[in-house]
Symmetry: C2
Subunit: 410 residues, 2 copies
């Protein structure tokens, strides 16, 4: 939520759904810039602030939002009540600044809904078993919304965001990108995890795990547009592969510019080596994305993985300090100037030739592929980051995503 004006718009939008007979729970984000302001204050004091205290500070952004939204709802004539995460309670583990929701007790919320109120709950935060405030990390409000929807058994979760749905790729990179009226949960998961910033990956995981029907809608439309029209806009994340979806081989091209690759050379090829390399990295709380280990030659292999670019230096340090000598590996090399581009589509399962079209397209553009990783519904390649836009545009065109009619069948 941005300004007070925007909060009033949210209130009018919620009031419209409420008036149509829906029992509404709303999970607003912090006001625009507020979380950054709060983290900035902490950063002025310490460059490695304690996670528990950071959560204490950062959680206030959403607390202000829920209070203001409840006031705004009352102002437009809707009875409303706000709750902080600990009041619901939204229970999480104790991993401060990146906690995970473990359970949501819906009793108090249902009581308020039964009384005809709209319930406004802080996103992004919960309470640990020791009674401390935890936060879920950036974008945690989406995750909270889906988790609350799951916890309360909601019929549908509407995510209002600053885009009007999920696109075949980022329209800022490919102007011809097209909004997908529906996408399956699995595709959405790949799109989100690959850097399409519409929804936080963990909110999609939650939606999948608890089968929460989730609709991505634009918060930029007038709050007063008819409900039917609003519900038909955006992108619905579904759990059934429908007839019509069989046609779509590739749903979109996702990309992620914030990656860095690291290779541990000449790793002895023996059982447990992957754990010996990645265990200390995980213990340092560094998330690893792609992992590639090739066939060994002469009893050794090269072990590669990607991490977020911000953690590149720290990951290298961990490997040098805790891994290399221990396992008798060779040099550790890396490159923070890479990106990942992926083609995602559930139809890929039953179609061959997708990979070869992807590789040929990149080759035609003179782009060297550094790493490849595939799953049932996506193919990802790591390339030099300066080629990212070019690669996305070329693939978007090659898979004919700009047209809303037939899709290519490989």
């Amino acid at each position: 939520m941005g300004s007070i004006e925007r909060i009033m718009n949210v209130a009018r939008r919620v009031a419209k759904w409420h008036a149509a007979g829906h029992r509404m729970v709303v999970v607003p984000s912090a006001m625009s810039g507020e979380t950054n302001r709060l983290l900035g204050l902490a950063a002025e004091i310490s460059d490695r602030p304690d996670g528990r205290e950071l959560d204490m500070i950062a959680a206030t952004g959403e607390q202000v939002s829920v209070g203001l939204l409840a006031l705004a709802l009352k102002q437009v004539g809707v009875d409303a009540i706000s709750f902080a995460g600990w009041q619901v309670p939204v229970r999480t583990d104790a991993a401060h600044t990146k906690a995970r929701i473990s359970a949501i007790d819906g009793e108090r919320v249902h009581r308020e809904l039964d009384a005809g109120r709209v319930v406004v709950i802080t996103g992004f935060q919960g309470i640990s078993d020791s009674g401390d405030i935890t936060t879920l990390g950036r974008g945690g409000s989406d995750t909270s919304a889906v988790a609350v929807a799951a916890g309360l058994g909601a019929e549908e979760c509407l995510i209002f965001t600053d885009v009007d749905g999920v696109y075949t790729t980022d329209p800022r990179v490919v102007p011809e990108a097209r909004r997908l009226p529906r996408i399956t949960f699995e595709e959405m998961l790949e799109m989100a995890s690959l850097g399409s910033k519409v929804l936080q990956i963990r909110s999609v995981e939650f939606a999948g795990k608890y089968k929460v029907k989730t609709r991505v809608l634009s918060s930029l439309t007038s709050p007063d547009i008819p409900i039917d029209e609003e519900a038909a806009s955006g992108t619905l994340i579904t759990f059934e592969e429908e007839e019509s979806m069989e046609q779509a081989v590739i749903s979109g091209i996702a990309f992620n510019r914030d990656e860095a690759k690291i290779t541990v050379m000449n790793v002895p090829d023996r059982p447990g080596i992957a754990y010996q390399i990645l265990g200390p990295v995980a213990a340092a709380n560094i998330d690893v994305d792609m992992i590639i280990q090739n066939q060994s030659v002469n009893g050794t292999t090269d072990f590669s993985f990607t991490v977020h670019r911000n953690e590149y230096q720290r990951a290298i340090e961990v490997l040098e300090r805790e891994v290399r000598g221990m396992i008798g590996a060779g040099e550790i090399v890396g490159d923070p100037r890479i990106c990942k581009v992926s083609a995602v589509g559930i139809g890929m399962r039953s179609h061959v030739g997708i990979a070869s079209l992807m590789f040929r397209t990149l080759s035609d553009e003179g782009i060297n592929i550094q790493m490849i990783s595939t799953s049932e519904i996506k193919i990802s390649v790591v390339i030099e980051d300066k080629y990212m836009e070019l690669a996305v545009r070329a693939l978007h065109k090659a898979f004919e995503l700009e047209e809303s009619g037939d899709k290519i069948a490989g």
Copy 2:
């Protein structure tokens, strides 16, 4: 607390006391301007915002402060942990925006103190029996500090504020005003309730009720001054009348510019009439200060009282709507342009002539006294507000408060 720089200064000050072996609990206020900013956001949405939601919003100011102060303490090498009021818990009644503390559970705090940590607790707020966040009203951080000190059985409560102690009167009005090294709890109570803004009246009440030795100190001195020197500065609020204090007849001149007076004329003089007049006023949550009812003449009397100037209009409305007709009273008249000036002193108990000196002094200056009210240790008069400074200066001089030697014995 003002800026980050100021938070770092507080941390250094606390670290100094901690290093000297004191077990420290710190109750910081919100950062300068923050509470106003938050209430301003709410005011943009509603001109009569719901109290529960207002508390949800306003409580975040202190929550940010405790997190930042805990980070700052760690930064200067002191282990620290922050708690919001609900985590302690600090229990209050459910009177949102002006809640009163009912109990403080010290168990968790003591556990952290035992572990050698400094505990930082949000002031100004607590949790009601229904699990809602409550706030204690403006200045509630002082009250919280004293309440926490009482609840935990602290040896002493240090209140760091932007003045260096309690003065014989406001130095902005009388430059010769003198800092009192000690003041009794009763005197402090009268000084505070009469508008000396050093401490919130409720913090003084708490200090008295639970006999918390409280010291008012300046937050503007260097955080690094020696502890002995710091402890000797400021004003100590004591509970024993000591030998030396017998001498002081008047400790100070207090005043309050924010008052308004209201008189209900020709009230039938019968039992219960005071309640019939003030009951509806109290029910409208309007605090009444001075109450004066004179001897009746011909079976009717005039009933006067003072309220905060901001509530003057509302109080008149309540009286017109709910009281006048019901009790068969005459006209309701009032004046928002008055002030109250008081002479306060525990020595007054055993000295006569204080009142006459006070009245003569005001008369010599040509100031008309509109109302008089007295207690064992204070005499208050209501006068036209434009004479306030003149009256305070004249009384300060008449009672020879500018000299630190002998006091007048009336």
